[in-house]
């Protein structure tokens, strides 16, 4: 919840912490089949940062900034659907 970037339509999306940002070249290259890591209970949650909306403000959210609290992370297919 640290910085509050300028509001605009071209805000960058979030991504995993510690992973390089995709470059133009990587996007056009054929997708490389890599082995997918499975999520497992008892193992660390992948850290990530993502743009966020909280109490009327655009902000950002990084999972590892919230260590020390219990966190429920919910994904949903789209706005205006149910949870």
């Amino acid at each position: 919840m640290a910085d509050s970037p300028a509001i605009g339509c071209a805000r960058p999306t979030g991504g995993l912490v510690g992973q390089p940002h995709e470059t133009e070249e990587q996007q056009t290259a054929p997708p490389v089949k890599e082995e997918k890591k499975m999520i497992q209970v008892g193992k660390p949650a992948p850290d990530f940062a993502a743009p966020a909306y909280h109490k009327g403000q655009f902000t950002s959210f990084k999972l590892s900034d919230h260590l020390g609290k219990w966190i429920v992370l919910c994904f949903y297919p789209g706005d205006f659907t149910f949870v």
């Binding site: 499975m38 009327g56 429920v72 992370l73 919910c74 789209g78 659907t81």
Partner: protein, 122 residues
Amino acid sequence: MWDDHELSKMVTGGIPFPMLSDGGGKVGEAYGVYDPDAGVENRGRFIIDPDGIIQGYEVLSPPVGRYVAETIRQIQAFQLVRATKGAEATPSGWKPGKLTLKPGPDLVGKVWEVWKVSMESE
């Protein structure tokens, strides 16, 4: 916009937690909930403890909604286990205030003496 137009009508003051955007599904992909064919996230729900460890998760396909009370019950159970440093465990159907189990050699083969199937639905 969703918060302004709909969610704030369900919850006074709007949604109290941060709502995140995962355009492109990178975060969802890392958590195994992104469906690249449909281009959407499935209904994933992860319980992450104060050390950043995933203690539980549930993933549903889009048409079926979750049961929030069950998520809260699971967090309460994990908090109890954590508070007792694993000395107590919560059997099937556990709710706050109900019987916990003390895992150990004495309990092996004896769960049936302390826990009954009827306790699941009490």
